[in-house]
Structures are given as structure tokens and as C-alpha cells.
Subunit: 195 residues, 2 copies
């Protein structure tokens, strides 16, 4: 997705550029961002940016992809636990991730940009939403096998309802700390039949 060019890379400059791009995007949205601004914030020349990415949209997509690294994966060795135990182990990491103001701001900006820049939403979708939906589906299927979720439940609808509720909470103006995020996730997971 990042449409990186073939030139030799300078990892330190790349990191600075992607970091700057994310900040500029969060502050002003895609309409408020420019390569010039990103280069200035990163302390590099515009050409250094253009050598690696051919548009501000390409830099922003790469920055969104890179920000994904901060979100913890579910450890594979928990897979044999009962669903509620597994959910209890996963919730703290998830709560910490969604209480992060920069992640919330990034998601809000991606939603806003979906009108004019659907490719940023596509990058977000592929890197954040698809893996989360896959994990949620695995949990729901196990809960169905354990009998806490009805066998005829519409899992696609239920996944959208869970992911939608959480994303919806993220763009609400009320502050969200880790304790609030934990309580919110617990109420949604419980209502879904996972706790």
C-alpha cells in the first residue's frame, strides 16, 4: 500500500517522515496536510520525501500502516483457554490501545477523509479492521461452540455491532481513559455474550 520507491532507504529519515506525517494528519486532516509541512516537521527536505513516496496520500497511507505496530496481537498460547478467560486476558491491552488519544484522533481523521480519500480508509481497513474482525469472529465461533452465543446468531452483524460500538465510542467527544475504556469494552463484550 505504501507505494515505496526503489531508492536506497534511510530508515531514520523514513521514521521521522512517517511520524511527522501522522502528526500533521491528526492535526489538520488530509486537507490540512502537505508534503512541505511533513518534510519541515520531520526536519528533512521535500525531495527526501518525494524520493520515497509520490504523493502526500502515499505518505499518509504508509504512516497509518506503521502506526499499526503499536497495537498488541493476541498471544497464540492463550488459544486453549475458555472464551471468557481469554477475553479477560485480552481486554487490558485492547483498552489501553483504544484509550490512546492519538489512535482515536487518527481514526476520526480517517473517517473524515473517507469522503475524498477512500484509499486511506482502505489502508486502515486492511491493517486494523480486518485483523480485528478476524479475531472477534474466532472468539464468537468459540463462544457458539461453548453455548454462550446462540447457534443461529448472525456473526457478521454481531461483529459489526461490536466493532461499530467501539469505533463509535472513539469518535465521541467525551474523554476516554484506560479505566473507562475497560468498562466500555466489558459492557459490549458482555452484551455480545463473550463475558
Amino acid at each position: 500500500m505504501s507505494r515505496a520507491r526503489g531508492r536506497p532507504r534511510n530508515p531514520e529519515a523514513d521514521r521521522a517522515i512517517l511520524q511527522a506525517a501522522l502528526e500533521v494528519f491528526i492535526e489538520g486532516g488530509v486537507e490540512g496536510a502537505s508534503i512541505e509541512q511533513i518534510a519541515k516537521r520531520a526536519g528533512v527536505g521535500k525531495l527526501t520525501v518525494y524520493r520515497r513516496w509520490d504523493s502526500k496520500e502515499a505518505v499518509l497511507a504508509a504512516a497509518i500502516e506503521t502506526a499499526r505496530d503499536g497495537i498488541p496481537e493476541a498471544p497464540a498460547d492463550l488459544a486453549d483457554l475458555p472464551v471468557t478467560t481469554l477475553v479477560r486476558k485480552l481486554l487490558p491491552g485492547l483498552a489501553e490501545a483504544i484509550a490512546e488519544p492519538r489512535l482515536r484522533a487518527m481514526i476520526a481523521r480517517i473517517f473524515g477523509a473517507s469522503v475524498s480519500h477512500p484509499e486511506l480508509m482502505a489502508t486502515y481497513w486492511e491493517n486494523y479492521v480486518v485483523p480485528r474482525r478476524r479475531n472477534t469472529r474466532a472468539l464468537l465461533e468459540r463462544a457458539q461452540a461453548e453455548g454462550t452465543i446462540a447457534a443461529d446468531a448472525d456473526l457478521d452483524a454481531l461483529i459489526d455491532m461490536m466493532v461499530g460500538a467501539v469505533l463509535f465510542r472513539l469518535v465521541q467527544p467525551e474523554p476516554l481513559d484506560v479505566a473507562g475504556a475497560t468498562a466500555y469494552l466489558e459492557s459490549v463484550y458482555r452484551q455480545a455474550g463473550l463475558l
Copy 2:
């Protein structure tokens, strides 16, 4: 919320300004909008806008409020029907509203602006989300009374899951026509226990 000023009003110019403001907001978000652009699009002078609103944010908030008028209210005389019958009668109007590309774009832009302009999100919340949450709660309480939703269900969580799923669907890049919106709403309402 609109912070209208005390000067005599020209309803026709007001309508043109609010319409232009919504278009400009949808096209470029709050960062891409300016009073100058709104006045030009509406075919009035900048001063005509400033006589009624003191900032672009105030015009945008008024435009968001006004766009609410296109969304149908639940008719009061349906109140005695069983919940599933009532939901069947409400769904077509709701599906038409959410399949409207301008409403989808407006909501996406409001989400995006929530980072820098939480007051626009507050206007949206008050005018769109609060009434929809109230209606959804009334339906869920009646479904609880009829026994199709568990007496100990967490209605706040369930409302967020329903509203969240629908809003989440609205900002996804895939097109949504009235038939698709109807099918989507049916799956969510059914999974929630309302159909």
C-alpha cells in the same frame, strides 16, 4: 447552537448559505471550508454571512442542524403496534435516509472534525444521535416487555452496538443503496432481538 445574530433575516439567503455551507463542508471538511467560499457558492457577499453568523464553525453547525429536517420522524400513531410490526414500518424510511450519499458524507466529515472541532460533533450528537438513541431505547424497552429481548440486557450497550454498527457501515467505502441499507438494518435489528 447556531449563534444566530439579531439582525433582520432574509430566509432565502439563509437557505442558500446553509446549503452552500453543507456542500463545502462535505467536499473539503472543516479545514477545507471558509466563509469566503461559502458566500461565493451561495451567491451572496461575505458580509451577508457575517451578519448572521460570527464564524465558519457557527455556519457549519447551523447547516448540520438544518440538514436534520430531511430525516423522517417515527409517526406517533404507530405506537400501539407490536415491536416487530413497528420496526418493519420504520425501516424503509431509515434505510432511505442512511443510503443518502450526502448524509453519509456529512457524518464522515463530522467524525473527522471531532479532533479539532468537537462543537460540530456536539451539534450532530444533539440533533441526530440523541433522538435516534431515544427511539431505539423505546423499541428495546418494548421488546423487553414483549420478552424478545432478555430482561437483564444492557440497553445502553445494545443501543451503542446498533447505532455504532449503522454509523460504521456509513463510513465504509463500499456503496450503499436503499436495498443494501434495508438488508443491513434488518440484520442488525434481527441480531438485536427487534425482528
